[in-house]
Symmetry: C2
Subunit: 105 residues, 2 copies
């Protein structure tokens, strides 16, 4: 496991909600807005603001999760998916529960 | 008016539906899918596939329309807006009419 892989694994283990995002991407904005409306403050990693490390991270995320696209969402260390996956969970009433669990509530 | 400005003006004048897009952008995909579902074939310009001309075009579009973001949609030479604007027009039942008009039907 590479250092960058370890970094990602540590990040998602230590933060209840993590969003790997791109700052100018509307799907990423939608997911960030959703969490904000639930009064949750995710750790947001803007891949486009990290120069070459950003694309390396995007590749590592694909290796770990099978998902190359953004947004890439983790809750309680668990890979949730992208924008549609997260919205679907919210619409099914499942999202708030797993957030509460991950936040140790 | 610069050559590139003239290019854009000619493009939107000569093509009933034009979408300035980015190939990996989900909002751009949504708009392209909408037109496809209406059996309309827009002229699609993928700005990310045009190297430096792509970003120049994006700047020219902002100069002409006031809109920097993608997708950037024109129907019958008229600036419609982005993804939300186009979807809103569709939901109001206005989109199909202006497409028909622009296609000379
Ligand atoms: N269905 C996915 C779509 C994800 C997607 O296509 N993301 C685009 C941006 S909107 C992407 O990551 N494209 C490649 C890139 O930006 O590197 C979701 O809901 O998250
Ligand atoms: N509300 C606008 C959002 C447009 C937007 O923010 N587009 C993003 C991509 S999803 C953009 O162009 N960002 C700057 C860029 O990609 O250069 C719409 O519905 O089209
Ligand atoms: S880049 Fe446009 S929706 Fe993600």
């Amino acid at each position: 496991s590479s250092p960058l892989e370890e970094t990602v694994k540590t990040t998602v283990a230590q933060n209840p909600v993590v969003v790997y995002s791109k700052s100018w991407c509307s799907y990423s904005s939608e997911v960030k807005s959703l969490f904000k409306s639930l009064q949750v403050e995710p750790l947001v990693v803007e891949l486009d603001e990290l120069g070459s490390e950003g694309s390396q991270l995007q590749n590592v995320l694909e290796k770990i999760t099978g998902q190359y696209t953004v947004p890439n969402v983790f809750i309680g260390g668990k890979h949730i998916g992208g924008c549609s996956d997260t919205l679907q969970m919210y619409n099914k009433g499942e999202l708030e529960g797993i957030i509460a669990e991950a936040s140790g509530k």
